[in-house]
């Protein structure tokens, strides 16, 4: 017995030393390094890079969702690749090429389904989150001759639904998986020309598609889908000359306070402020350029905005009470994305052509840290795991 212990105990100690200390993932995240097709794994407690995962294919315009345990990141790449990365072991758990050309994805309310929206062939494909085995295929067929539309603005919604927009068709679809693997599809036609992206309110009630081809936005109340899609901000920008848009705005996340929602305008250097109770425009705040991301600090007190090429070296901060710009920052060349820490004391900002991510204190606007990265684009923290629509 004693002899056995003497043999086993040192063995166990060696094993324990080989494993790293267990850790949670709540302060972790990933940054897409676009040019090299790799993923930087980072943490926000000491603002450091923990490691990298490579071999993820074409990551231009890549986006990420998380498993509900915050351990796995699902990466949607431009080349149709869907990769499940274990951010703790820094390894690829599974990788499939699911289509020719994809744009984004979502994870279902129960965490069991991962949906991918595709440009070619246009549609949505749904996979088992665990195994990445195919579950359902939803071709975005419209009109009478079997044409397929590019799909944009795919989000998850309560009651095990996915909602998305058809760019070429001008439609919004709901795919309801509450009854199992064969979704019930609800189609809303003539919602407006060229929806380019969509977003859902944090409570999962309202879906909004931004329209490129005409003024205004399309609003769907998911508590009452039978009421159909309403046009909001219809008169916005009417008669004003539109400026060219060198990068499509992104409607990821929902910048809103108790009273207002903040949205990027298209073809105008303005952030739109909409009253939440009646969806009427309250103001248009002039900003530095064509807004790309309009994001609220988690407490709703500030809105952070970045801009399209060629005015993309700047970030502006709007105070949500006065609706005034309170700060203009220059985080580097080609600012692509911003991500707040879960409670918003920091924001991480990627500057692609400066090859760095800058971490700002959102109270003092001081730089806390800079991390060198290879053409960084999207930044995604694990608190997204528990947020509808992210």
């Amino acid at each position: 017995m004693n002899a056995l212990l003497r043999l086993v105990v040192p063995g166990l100690l060696v094993l324990l030393a080989a494993c790293t200390t267990p850790r949670g993932t709540g302060d972790m995240g990933v940054v897409i390094e676009r040019a090299s097709g790799s993923l930087a794994i980072v943490e926000t407690t000491h603002d450091s890079r923990l490691g990298s995962v490579t071999g993820l294919g074409d990551l231009s315009h890549a986006s990420v969702v998380y498993s509900r345990d915050g351990r796995y990141a699902y990466i949607f790449g431009r080349d149709g690749g869907l990769t499940k990365v274990d951010i703790l072991t820094e390894t690829i758990a599974k990788r499939i090429i699911q289509s020719g050309n994809s744009i984004g994805g979502a994870i279902s309310q129960d965490g069991k389904l991962v949906a991918v929206s595709n440009y070619t062939p246009g549609g949505v494909r749904v996979f088992n989150a665990d195994t990445l085995q195919p579950v359902a295929d939803i071709p975005a067929v419209y009109g009478t001759d079997g044409k397929r539309s590019k799909v944009v603005g795919l989000v998850d919604a309560p009651d095990q639904r996915f909602v998305f927009s058809l760019y070429d068709a001008g439609e919004i679809w709901i795919a309801d998986f509450s009854q199992g693997a064969t979704p019930a599809i609800t189609r809303f036609k003539n919602i407006g020309k060229q929806p380019y992206d969509g977003l859902i309110s944090p409570d999962g009630r309202y879906y909004i598609a931004g329209l490129f081809g005409e003024d205004g936005m399309a609003l769907l109340d998911l508590w009452h889908p039978q009421q159909g899609v309403k046009r909001i901000l219809n008169h916005y920008g009417r008669g004003q000359r539109k400026l060219p848009v060198y990068k499509m705005p992104h409607l990821e996340g929902w910048a809103m306070t108790e009273e207002y929602a903040f949205l990027p305008s298209v073809g105008h250097y303005e952030v739109l402020v909409v009253k939440r109770n009646n969806w009427q425009q309250k103001a248009a705040i002039p900003v530095h350029g064509q807004p790309v991301f309009v994001m609220a600090r988690p407490d709703g007190h500030q809105i952070w905005v970045n801009f399209a090429h060629p005015r993309n070296d700047t970030v502006q901060v709007i105070d949500t009470e006065s609706l005034k710009i309170i700060k203009t920052l220059k985080p580097g060349k080609a600012v692509l994305h911003m991500e707040f820490t879960p409670r918003g004391e920091q924001v991480w900002i990627s500057a692609r052509d400066s090859n760095q991510v800058t971490v700002y204190d959102t109270r003092t606007f001081e730089v806390i840290a800079t991390l060198p990265m290879d053409k960084p684009s999207g930044i995604f923290f694990t608190d997204r795991a528990h947020k509808t629509g992210l």
């Binding site: 676009r34 231009s60 315009h61 050309n101 944009v152 490129f212 499509m248 692609r352």
Partner: protein, 105 residues
């Protein structure tokens, strides 16, 4: 024989003109613009996105002048924006010729 010489001479002139117009550092800038900024709509590998594929296969048989004008003036009613003001005609011709040959990140 004399003809051959003249043709070679002309080719040489044409080549040196385009090389003069788009300097080496400018070409680097344009390459980055093509991959990153055009890439945000056309894909960094030019295989298409919101905008169509701009691979050599996709552009095969398409008129050079039509493509140049599309880039300079954009396509009204679509997200393809006009780049004139930011890019010169020589820049755009260089971009189109690079696309015909194929660009890789």
């Amino acid at each position: 024989m004399a003809r051959g010489l003249v043709v070679t001479g002309l080719l040489f002139v044409a080549l040196s003109v385009s090389a003069d117009e788009v300097s080496a550092p400018r070409r680097d800038e344009l390459r980055n613009l093509l991959l990153q900024d055009c890439g945000s709509c056309h894909g960094m590998t030019m295989k298409g996105g919101l905008g169509p594929a701009l691979t050599p296969q996709a552009l095969q048989g398409k008129d050079r002048e039509m493509l140049v004008v599309t880039i300079l003036q954009g396509r009204p009613g679509t997200p393809m924006p006009p780049w004139q003001g930011m890019l010169s005609r020589a820049d755009v011709e260089w971009l189109v010729d690079s696309l015909y040959q194929g660009v890789t990140p």
